[in-house]
Symmetry: C2
């Protein structure tokens, strides 16, 4: 028996930070048929609120260091403000969304990142996706909307990278579903030349990925995203697309497709 | 066929504001058998965060006026910080909690309170409880944990009194379930004399309630709570208790039972 199809879409700052982009994306998302999950990142709001609360943002190597105060802020902003506004907006469009963190229904269990050279604080690396709750929701026509907060099943919330949440959900759900994963970001796809917005590489397989990586063609910011993607493909995710938000309504728009 | 039993428990500031009280309550709550829903209020945290963000809390007649900035704060604190920490804490106790606002699964639709003498801002009065999503969760052994944020199905989140959320959920779910509703607060029950903590009135029916009200025996702060309760009873809620947190594990502890 073939597995039911499931589409997981991840949006980040370029959609979330602009009210018009977000509204227009959510209208498009609401029109999608079949089984869908939305994953959203944090955008600038958490940094804004942290600043207003006079917390200094702590970054090492482009990653936010999550101390206890910053964990409070991201929990408030990601799981509260952003998640609930996205859900309310989807409900307006008659899309029966339900907002979740990894703690809800024990959907995503993580562990606090082990301190090696850097102490990332309350940053969570995903251990396990519990597909039971998510399947119940999907089977009852509810559309899960995940923010990037997880828990360790010992009462501790953890801040987790939203790209990772998306790829871990995709990998975990690949046992039950034929999963298509789409990362929406500001560019049309993976670019061959960072200065040429139209230099989209249409498809990348794992061999080509190694070549591109070794020749330093892929921009540094794109590397962890692609690592996540190829790891997800190796764990059974059927297809992965990297695209801008036009791709949601028009599959013929330029984009990058990843395969093993 | 008799309806399945459902227990709805509402906790407020006296539990939420003290970490030890909250942990200990959540351990007790996790041990409850059967179908359960938890509703939590906001406590002091929202006021604290609002103050740190240099927002002046606006109160008229003991009610918070929710302007746009304050709505952001309560959405962050109630739906984010408090709700997700409560869920994570319950998950630690092997209670499969799932945190919800009224927007999630369109569980609680409200309307922005009409401006008469006072403009309450983004305060929501409940229109309708959609029992579908809640029933799906309960039937799949998930324990819904509601914060006091609703939506108007037009994309607007609204701040709603947590006591009202509890009584509206109870009333809405009374069609499908035999609902027992318990309000946990700092006193042992409704007191005959505000100065005597042991002067608990063991049971109040609607006739006695009118008498107590007319004779100014019931404290002003208790009146809206009791109004909510008798309205819920009139709409089919099977039983309502007002008690302190000891009641959760020991039904023989002093408390007030309300009936029509």
């Amino acid at each position: 028996m073939s597995k039911p199809k499931l589409h997981i879409i991840k949006i980040g700052g370029n959609v979330i930070d602009h009210e018009e982009n977000l509204s227009s994306f959510l209208v498009d998302f609401s029109k999608l048929e079949g089984l869908n999950i939305l994953v959203h990142g944090g955008g600038k709001k958490a940094t804004e609120i942290a600043k207003k609360l006079q917390l200094e943002p702590k970054m090492i190597g482009g990653r936010r260091i999550t101390d206890a105060d910053n964990l409070e802020v991201v929990t408030m902003v990601y799981a509260g403000l952003l998640n609930k506004n996205i859900v309310a907006n989807l409900q307006k469009n008659n899309c029966n969304a339900i907002g979740l963190s990894g703690a809800d229904g024990n959907a995503i269990k993580a562990n606090k990142r082990i301190v090696k050279e850097i102490d990332y604080g309350f940053a969570g690396d995903v251990d396990e996706v519990d597909t039971n709750t998510i399947s119940v929701l999907l089977e009852n026509n509810l559309i899960p909307v995940f923010c990037a907060i997880t828990h360790n099943k010992e009462g501790q919330l953890l801040n987790t990278n939203a790209d990772t949440i998306a790829s871990e959900l995709a990998s975990g759900l690949a046992k039950k579903y034929e999963v298509s994963l789409t990362y929406i970001f500001e560019k049309k796809g993976v670019l061959e030349s960072i200065d040429d917005e139209d230099s989209v590489i249409e498809s990348i397989d794992s061999e080509m990925y190694e070549t591109l990586k070794n020749n330093n063609i892929i921009a540094a910011g794109m590397l962890p995203k692609l690592e996540n993607c190829f790891y997800a493909l190796s764990r059974g995710v059927a297809e992965i697309h990297i695209a801008n938000s036009d791709f949601i309504t028009n599959k013929n728009t330029q984009h990058t497709t990843l395969s093993l």
